[in-house]
């Protein structure tokens, strides 16, 4: 089962509601681009590659519901839908990448409007299918970096749930595991949304890969006491110099690994690389509702005092100097990233 998939019978986008996992495996069916934008915003679907694919299907839904009588009118409706879908979350560039890819194809289209509607859907399906293949290739490349017996710290969720299927950083771990390497994963719980404790732990249970959950502030201790051999995570946007915007907490994890000389690998499809941005300081960082931080309970009791306030930046930027390599579907990229990353992206 894919994290998200087109359902031809109902002409809808079906996706796992990731807010309910691991308590319930619930599938929702979306029929309008507005529903897709909202699902991205409220994190029914999350993970840079997954929201890219979801947005592409959002355009397919826009094409389907548009009353446009010709290709030009349909293109205008698609562009309007793309603006709304593109505004749903600011940091991951895959969203803009997928929308741009579909629109670019349609801008040069000049046939019957119904064939154009079908072409939008076909392009979205291609993006989804390619995503799975790209993940498998990242898995193959990255698995070479992992050794039998490694303990790995992993941040957020980068598994099948973060993509269409397989995973980025967790995909590398899955591939190495499938090759017979014995791995142990220390799963950063990843406050405030707990994607690690909820989603990554749930995935690792399915795959039979041994793991233990740790709170994010524990990673440094395991790194400094020699209990970890590798650090792996995904990315939401990679600047041309190799700076990686990823889930909040990634920077501190990479810093602690670097301080103990433990290799740090970011695993991202080239659709996550934004060569238009010279460095990570230019990447917009999403600020989410502080309530996500305050909504924590222990034993059914509220934790924070009445009237408490909070901050909630959803991403941070890990400077390229802290990364040993970036894995893409085109291979392993080593420093200097400003030279090797553009080459790798263009090799695709």
């Amino acid at each position: 089962m894919r994290t998200l998939d087109w359902d031809a019978a109902t002409a809808s986008l079906k996706m796992i509601d990731q807010r309910r996992l691991p308590e319930k495996l619930e599938i929702v069916a979306l029929t309008t681009p507005a529903q897709v934008a909202e699902a991205i915003r409220n994190m029914t679907v999350r993970g840079a590659p997954a929201i890219g694919a979801a947005a592409a299907f959002g355009l397919a839904l826009a094409a389907q519901s548009s009353p446009a009588g010709d290709a030009g009118a349909l293109l205008l409706d698609l562009e309007a839908a793309a603006r709304s879908l593109g505004a749903s979350r600011p940091t991951a560039v895959n969203l803009a990448w997928a929308l741009g890819r579909v629109l670019d194809r349609m801008r040069s289209y000049s046939g019957p409007v119904d064939e154009m509607r079908a072409a939008v859907l076909a392009e979205a399906c291609r993006i989804a299918d390619e995503d799975v293949a790209i993940n498998k290739r990242m898995g193959d490349h990255g698995a070479a970096l992992l050794a039998d017996g490694d303990t790995i710290i992993h941040h957020c969720n980068t598994g099948a749930l973060a993509v269409v299927d397989w995973g980025t950083a967790l995909g590398v771990i899955r591939t190495a595991h499938a090759q017979g390497k014995r791995l142990h994963v220390l799963v950063d719980e990843t406050r405030p949304r707990l994607q690690g404790a909820r989603l990554t732990a749930w995935e690792l249970e399915q795959y039979g890969i041994p793991y233990e959950i740790i709170s994010d502030d524990m990673a440094g201790h395991f790194l400094q006491t020699g209990q970890v051999q590798k650090v792996l995570f995904g990315g939401d946007r990679v600047a041309a110099n190799g700076d990686v915007a990823n889930k909040i907490g990634t920077y501190m994890l990479a810093l602690a690994a670097h301080d103990s000389l433990i290799p740090v690998y970011a695993v991202v499809p080239t659709s996550t690389v934004d060569l238009a941005l010279a460095h990570g300081g230019l990447i917009p960082i999403e600020q989410r509702d502080p309530q996500e931080v305050l909504d924590i309970q222990l034993h059914g009791e509220r934790v924070v005092p009445e009237g408490a306030r909070a901050r909630n930046p959803a991403f941070d930027v890990t400077p390229a100097r802290l990364l040993n390599a970036i894995v893409t579907e085109n291979g392993i990229v080593y420093p200097p990233f400003e030279v090797n990353l553009p080459k790798n992206v263009h090799a695709g």
Copy 2:
């Protein structure tokens, strides 16, 4: 109201049950040393100075309930109680320090046994009173390090609840606030026990000091984007070279501050300094029940999947190289700590 205090009317040790805050302000009365040991173990009372004082009162309860007919027999009972109290938590050295201080006085005692019983209680009360005075002195010394307008990241709880009264690192913030400096505190929630979100936020509400809660993995983002001027925390044991064992997560916070050239200060009474240990690698790190990590809920729902496992080291060691200064009741200690820390401790 003190965090813990002797209640002469009922001859019991009364303390705030910190596991119930901020939901309920509940006072428990303990009448046996076994109850005190359990209260330290289950974190009814926590914070290195607070558990030191609690342990001293535990000896007063042991003296009270001992049937010993002479000073020698009472000393044996006190030593047995001290072994049990001392084993309740391994990392904070204040526990051993307080127990050792009471026992040392009693070893040279040679009067009537009932006067000796009273002397044990008197010594415990002196430890508690001195703790308050020491905190005020740390506050005075440390406040000079804070500037009007500072935003400070603070880890765990180091306020009145972590001591008998006033606080160590939070005591410094309170003193600077009382001097009229306008401060803003970013409160690390401090997973897994959430002492920041629960206790520090609750205290700051009482004191009217502006704050916002952040999850621990956000600190690096605020530091690297220039939004923070100081980082403050307490300590559970400081080695002779200035390495500081403190609540898990302190190391990653100090590392991130250091990476952005933001000053890092540990605030500890000299009773937290263990000159017998050359460096932090020799400090025993308590491993607590993994259930503390797994017992997290969002919106009343369990977060981790069925069968999930976890790790739960309660402390980590921040290397001295990451600290700009250590504040004690005897003044501000700057590097080289291996030279200046012993001098400061002996200045008391």
